[in-house]
């Protein structure tokens, strides 16, 4: 898998985790430490064939990897790629942190200007921040 520059969204990764059934599958694989199409379909209201298709999507996105175990492939979470997905989601909340910081600066700038207008004799406010 090609390394992707930090912050650039990988469409395949995002669409892979964008589906509720696949998120549920990831949860089960994480909780159980791995699983097969059969074991997953036992815990989900969908057929083994449908599970296999979802596993293929997760595999292509690099979120799981399979290894032959008897007659079936056994899948496990790929930690590094999973961590990347989580990091990209974190980027969304970081975006709000930056917006909130801008809100704070703008509001405080307006407030200072209003205060200065009202009490021009005061030489600045207490500077304890």
């Amino acid at each position: 898998m090609t390394p992707v520059a930090a912050g650039v969204v990988d469409d395949e990764l995002w669409s892979a985790v964008g589906d509720p059934t696949r998120r549920r599958m990831l949860d089960i694989l994480l909780a159980a430490g791995g699983g097969t199409a059969t074991s997953l379909s036992d815990q989900l209201p969908i057929s083994r064939q449908a599970v296999a298709k979802h596993l293929a999507v997760l595999d292509r996105a690099g979120l799981v990897h399979g290894a032959s175990a008897g007659r079936e492939r056994r899948y496990q979470i790929s930690e590094a790629q999973f961590a990347r997905a989580v990091a990209q989601l974190t980027a969304v909340s970081d975006a709000w942190d930056r917006r909130l910081a801008r809100i704070k600066r703008i509001a405080e700038t307006i407030q200072r200007q209003q205060d200065d207008g009202r009490a021009p004799s005061h030489e600045g406010r207490a500077s304890g921040v």
């Binding site: 912050g7 650039v8 969204v9 469409d11 995002w14 669409s15 985790v17 964008g18 589906d19 509720p20 998120r23 549920r24 990831l26 949860d27 994480l30 909780a31 999973f82 997905a85 989580v86 990209q88 989601l89 974190t90 980027a91 969304v92 909340s93 975006a95 709000w96 942190d97 930056r98 917006r99 909130l100 801008r102 809100i103 704070k104 600066r105 703008i106 509001a107 405080e108 700038t109 307006i110 407030q111 200007q113 209003q114 207008g117």
Partner: protein
């Protein structure tokens, strides 16, 4: 029992923040709700009225050159206490749970300033399309390199108006 909260957990279902702003609730309310202020800290364009039920849109970048226009609907506007809206729905489409993210600001007087509680919910219902939108937006409007010059000119224009 939920062993793992990373993908299905709290930080995906919602984003919550609390911050103190050294400005009165009236000032903070104007900054978070008035479209003229909102475009100084978030989208490039905003067309809505800061009253409950108003439906409009916000835009990121130049819409004729790959920019993005999304719906924006004011849910509640109670100055200077709370302001909430839904966004990311298709423009013109009624906002509802499942097609949009809900953002809520609650303001509480605290000393000389305001305690702001921010919450955005709806990621779970929407999948990650909204998050992709935000991250895409981040790519071409990244932080202070983009916003600092605008903030400086903004402050100056506020100063000259006063």
């Amino acid at each position: 029992m939920q062993h793992h909260e990373h993908l299905a957990g709290a930080e995906l279902g919602s984003i919550e923040r609390e911050l103190y702003i050294d400005a009165t609730p009236d000032v903070v309310y104007e900054v978070i709700s008035d479209p003229r202020h909102v475009t100084e800290w978030w989208p490039d364009g905003a067309t809505y009225e800061a009253v409950a039920g108003s439906e409009g849109s916000i835009s990121f970048g130049d819409c004729s050159q790959g920019g993005k226009l999304v719906g924006f609907a004011v849910v509640e506007a109670l100055p200077p206490r709370s302001f909430s809206f839904r966004w990311t729905q298709e423009p013109g489409e009624a906002a509802r749970r499942g097609n949009s993210l809900l953002v809520t600001f609650e303001l509480e007087p605290s000393g000389d300033g305001t305690l702001v509680r921010f919450r955005e919910t709806g990621f779970r219902e929407m999948g990650w399309e909204a998050a992709v939108l935000e991250a895409t937006y981040l790519d071409h409007a990244n932080g202070w390199e983009h916003f600092l010059p605008r903030l400086v000119s903004y402050s100056e224009s506020v100063g000259s108006r006063a």
